[in-house]
């Protein structure tokens, strides 16, 4: 099964079709996606700004990282669940969407970022507490994290601006195209 066939299959499932054609469920999930982004962003921003030494300097880095671990995970779970539902409702269309592809690539980079800095920064916070100055690697991790998430938010907004390639879409699905996408 190719990626395109997978996208067509996901989009043809009952719940994906229901979402695509619903008047209020789709925008409600989109709103939850954005609310989740804000909650997640707060935890990411606080962690990164603490690593950069900008906020909460009187709090040990290790405590800030530890205490925000679960808020981040839960926030991400909300964003990812809603994001998956939104994407699945228009999977075939998004398969061709350049911004969607860039967004997925950036999310892979988020995983790379996590793997690259987990050992030296996020799971090594006790050592950061002892350091007289914040190591450059920790600051780099924070800066890259802010850059990545900011780009993902902007690219995500871009997805809605690309017109679906109607000539390429599966004939049966074309007529069912999303009722309304902002702009």
């Amino acid at each position: 099964m190719s990626a395109l066939e997978l996208a067509q299959w996901i989009q043809s499932t009952g719940w994906a079709s229901y979402l695509r054609m619903s008047a209020y469920v789709y925008p409600s999930i989109l709103s939850s996606h954005l609310t989740g982004i804000a909650l997640f962003a707060g935890a990411v921003l606080a962690t990164d700004l603490r690593l950069l030494g900008v906020v909460m300097r009187n709090q040990p880095v290790s405590e800030v990282i530890d205490q925000l671990r679960w808020p981040k995970r839960i926030g991400f779970l909300i964003v990812a669940t809603c994001g998956f539902l939104l994407a699945s409702s228009k999977a075939e269309e998004y398969y061709y969407n350049t911004f969607f592809r860039i967004k997925l690539t950036l999310l892979v980079l988020v995983a790379v970022h996590a793997l690259a800095f987990r050992g030296s920064v996020y799971n090594n916070a006790a050592a950061l507490d002892q350091a007289r100055r914040m190591p450059g690697k920790a600051k780099l991790a924070a800066a890259l994290s802010l850059l990545l998430w900011t780009s993902i938010a902007c690219v995500g907004r871009g997805i809605g601006y690309i017109e679906p390639p109607l000539d390429k879409l599966h004939a049966a699905l074309t007529s069912l195209r999303a009722t309304a996408e902002p702009r």
């Binding site: 707060g42 921003l45 925000l68 808020p71 902007c154």
Partner: protein, 149 residues
């Protein structure tokens, strides 16, 4: 009213989406930092003193708010009639007003220790509910039917 000039915003296809990105990043910063304090009041997440935490994050909340309050009116200016008549937009403005007033009066008092600590949890819940409902109302602007202008 007849407007004799074209809004320069509408001359560029990129202006609107770029402003939207600022709008999204701004509200993420605002709601995100507010939520960290509200979650603290609810006993979740950061554990430092809620008043100190609020003080540490306040500039970032304000920075986000400025981003939102600059980009918002510019977005509005691209099609004022539509927004003005849009039911969801009207609700959003009302909620925004309520949230701002609540944030800078009751919630601020609570965080300064001027209200009974028993009110912490209700205040945190109202704050979270108000700010997130603004996002919902904002998204629904594009999904409700606007009367013909």
């Amino acid at each position: 009213m007849l407007i004799a000039f074209e809004n320069p915003l509408n001359e560029s296809a990129l202006a609107f989406p770029i402003l939207e990105c600022f709008h999204i990043l701004g509200f993420a910063m605002t709601l995100g930092t507010i939520a960290l304090v509200d979650f603290r009041l609810l006993g979740f997440g950061l554990r430092q003193n809620a008043g100190d935490l609020a003080k540490a994050l306040a500039p970032w909340t304000l920075f986000g708010l400025i981003m939102v309050l600059v980009s918002g009116p510019l977005l509005f200016s691209s099609d004022p009639d539509m927004y003005y008549l849009n039911f969801s937009f009207q609700v959003k403005m009302l909620l925004l007003l309520l949230a701002l007033v609540f944030h800078y009066t009751i919630r601020r008092k609570l965080l300064r220790g001027e209200l009974s600590p028993g009110l912490s949890k209700p205040v945190a819940c109202i704050s979270l509910l108000l700010w997130s409902s603004i996002i919902f109302a904002g998204i629904f602007i594009a999904f409700v039917v606007t009367p013909e202008t």
